[in-house]
Symmetry: none
Subunit: 226 residues, 2 copies
């Protein structure tokens, strides 16, 4: 039975969610502010968390960071319409998805299912092959196809490549990359990214100046394409 934690300070929403989720065989626990929400995550270990951004005691992104410090429980964020920057901040902080209030129950349930499914035992393919090289995530090895021997990557280069390959096909924001590789304090040092992306491209791309696998999306981030 899937456990859901609802953190919202509006009783009507909490009630509606409790009724609908219970009817669909979810196990529901609730909290009405950020502090007790964090406590509830630690206590109940929910499989997924629904979090309202407009809590009375603390900022929603603070709650997300508090959870993400030690848990990867999927988080679906509820936000009122028009607070675009808030939503972006929440996603950057580690939220998995968002729904704007007012929401349709069907939509929320769909996103809930999707979030739980994504979190399920990741059938991670540990080896990714492109037309020119092969990345083995488990063995931490990169080898050029046809050519022998493996490509030597420095620790930082490897971490960067790993994040990109794990999100292959998807765009990864600069902030996310910096946060995962260098830590939260380096969110703005986009210079590092450029230097290391250049090094990766020099070592992996057939034409480093015309990237084919490690793509730049100007203003947004990078994408690994296999």
């Amino acid at each position: 039975m899937t456990r859901v934690l609802v953190v919202d300070d509006e009783p009507s929403i909490v009630r509606a969610l409790r009724i609908n989720l219970t009817a669909r065989k979810y196990e529901v626990s609730t909290a009405s502010d950020g502090a007790s929400g964090l406590a509830a995550v630690a206590r109940d270990r929910p499989d997924v968390m629904i979090l309202d951004l407009g809590l009375p005691d603390m900022d929603g992104t603070e709650v997300i960071r508090g959870v993400r410090g030690w848990s990867s429980t999927p988080i679906i964020v509820l936000s009122v319409w028009g607070q675009e920057s808030q939503k972006v901040a929440a996603l950057d902080a580690g939220a998995d998805d968002y729904v704007t209030k007012p929401f349709g129950m069907d939509e929320l349930l769909a996103r809930l299912r999707a979030a739980v499914r994504r979190a399920a035992p990741a059938p991670d393919e540990p080896v990714v092959t492109t037309g020119h090289f092969t990345v083995d995530l488990a063995a931490k090895r990169v080898a050029r196809n046809g050519g022998d021997g493996n490509v030597g990557l420095t620790p930082t280069e490897w971490q960067l490549l790993e994040v990109l390959v794990r999100n292959r096909g998807r765009l990864v924001t600069q902030r996310q990359l910096l946060q995962e590789v260098w830590g939260p304090a380096y969110e703005t040092e986009s210079n590092y990214l450029r230097v290391y992306m250049a090094q990766l491209r020099r070592k992996l791309e057939p034409e480093p100046s015309r990237p084919r696998y490690l793509l730049t999306e100007p203003g947004m981030g990078y994408r690994f394409e296999a």
Copy 2:
């Protein structure tokens, strides 16, 4: 059976709607002012609401806001011709679509079907496909069908497209778009919209000068149709 709530103070219109809707197997309930309309929404939980803006007791946008506080039931607004600003205000408040009086029954029924269909089970994955291209909200990727490679969108273009796609099938006012993409301070810079809509159409539409998916609603806003 689909439940429709009609809120209008003109008996002739209520009667005409009741007859036509009942004949087409809708279950109809009615109310003649805003207050009882709100009560009826809470009591009957209609699948869709048809709301006249010219009610005796309260402003139409007030009714919409009252509903939107806790429900996302689709709302189709009826307004007399010429009250453009009223319609925009209603859409901004959260209405889904509008029909100007006098209206053709066929048109109203079409919009009714569209609104109900839209509210039905939302797709699990945030991937929207049209006849000519596919939008993946999670991966931030747009690909032309058949053609390979993805279409390169700038950050602003992407944000604009995202708002439209998330509200697919439904009219989004200029103000809403400007606020979500550029921020509350740019509510009147409708020039930006024209420039970026043109760019999106050039990149996505098969015939940019004859839009098929990114539609203009003159005086109101834009609509993404899949």
